[in-house]
Amino acid sequence: MLRLSWLPLLALTTCGSPPAHQQGPVRLTVSAAASLREALTEIEPLFEARSPGTDLRLNFGASGALRQQIEQGARVDVFVSAAERPMDELTVRGLVDSATRRVLAGNELVLVVPSAEPSPVRSFAELASPRVRRVAIGAPASVPAGEYARETLRSLGIERAVSGKTVYAQNVRQVLAYVESGNVDAGIVYRTDAAVSGRVRVVAAAPPASHRPVTYMVAVVSSTRYPREARALGAFLLGTESRSVLRRHGFRLPETAPAEP
């Protein structure tokens, strides 16, 4: 039924701009988790150099929101999610090609505070203290970092104590911005996010057992008009060049490197 509901939409969008096939470069739209901004922006020219005639358009946002856009028929070719859940939901509905689905990287969850001034926060447990007035995390329903953060707060038994002062951000980078500006006392982001900002300080890392492992997934969107190029990009993201960029930005990499395309 779902397939039926999006097929006409696809047909409509496809006949809207048929010449794209023949003329100009192939434009691949990549919807990717906000935390991948720097790494993917760096990978983009590497891929384009390898695949002349392919032009990447990077669209960053909360994985849950990106998944939602794909469900609503947004024309996206490759999806990179910061968690398994959004990818699972698209897989179940056949909206991503499950054969192309791979684990891209891992990450770590950390507690950050503004580095400009001394902070009373030294651990996750202290978030429950009344001295901490505002805590930012991603909106758990759409932001994986927020979902992981909530799992950690729950496993530490402070979810209740923190919930009344939690500002739910639209994506993990907004959490970072809230902390950078000093408008919240602390925030929970990925270690790689903390690394891109000079204005936050990492005070603690979430115990790995306190939340599900942070798993970045990549897959080709079923409705892509360029399945060949999209698969090539998927393979490139798992390749050596891309891995070294991801590693340099602090992402954890899955054990086995898949074969180069």
């Binding site: 939602q68 329903a141 939690t166 809230y178 500006s181 408008n183 919240v184």
Partner: protein, 231 residues
């Protein structure tokens, strides 16, 4: 599906509180700006109407800058009173008030301009003070315009999103008003909740505008007849 009613209640609280600020400030400012000429009046008028034409997110950005912990107003409030305005319902109220102020101001200004000045002058010759002239002559004559401004400003506050999302944060049950709830629900794929909130706010706003129109139609002929008498 059980709908969380907090966003509606918060929106109503924000819009009501903003309305008090806007009606008082808008009416007095409009009164002060009517029938008075001074250098730079157009610029002042432009500044007062600016939030209407500026993208709300720009207004929100300015408020964020001002109210932030390191901003000029925010740091002052923090130092002197130890309070933080950002990410509170007060910030949402302020955002709604700033954005809806021009609607009240414009309506009130037009209403005051339409008041026959000879009637005010007549009251003055009969010994009425300025306050009395305003309360017993100007205000009753300008009433329909003021009511229209009030309703429009309220409806605008109720649906304020762009400026609000910058300064109110998203704290469910505390600062998540209906527009924010719609935005975050749609982001999370909770389309039924988003749709329900959208329907709710549309019905409320529609009712306000229809109510205003009905009221004006009944009220204005009387107002016109009043004008006819004085002509």
């Amino acid at each position: 599906m059980t709908l969380d009613w907090h966003p509606l209640l918060l929106s109503l609280r924000v819009a009501s509180a903003a309305l008090v600020l806007v009606v008082v400030a808008g009416t007095l400012t409009a009164r002060a700006m009517t029938g008075r000429e001074f250098p730079g009046k157009d610029v002042v008028d432009g500044l007062l109407v600016l939030p209407l034409v500026l993208p709300p997110v720009v207004t929100g950005f300015l408020l964020l800058f001002l109210l932030g912990r390191n901003g000029p107003v925010g740091s002052l409030l923090e130092r002197v009173f130890g309070v933080q305005l950002l990410f509170t319902l007060h910030a949402a109220t302020l955002a709604a008030a700033v954005v809806s102020f021009p609607l009240m101001y414009q309506s009130a200004k037009a209403a005051f301009q339409a008041v026959d000045r000879r009637l005010e002058d007549a009251a003055r010759t009969l010994g009425a003070g300025e306050a009395r002239v305003f309360l017993t002559v100007t205000l009753p004559l300008a009433w329909p315009g003021l009511v229209a401004g009030t309703v429009l400003a309220f409806a605008r506050s109720l649906g304020e999103f762009g400026a609000t999302v910058m300064v109110a944060g998203n704290i469910p049950g505390e600062t998540t008003t209906i527009p924010l709830a719609i935005f975050f629900a749609a982001d999370a794929g909770e389309m039924r909740a988003a749709g329900a909130y959208a329907l709710l706010i549309s019905v409320v706003c529609m009712a306000l505008v229809v109510g205003l129109n009905a009221w004006t139609r009944r009220r204005v002929p009387g107002w016109r007849r009043g004008g006819g008498r004085r002509a």
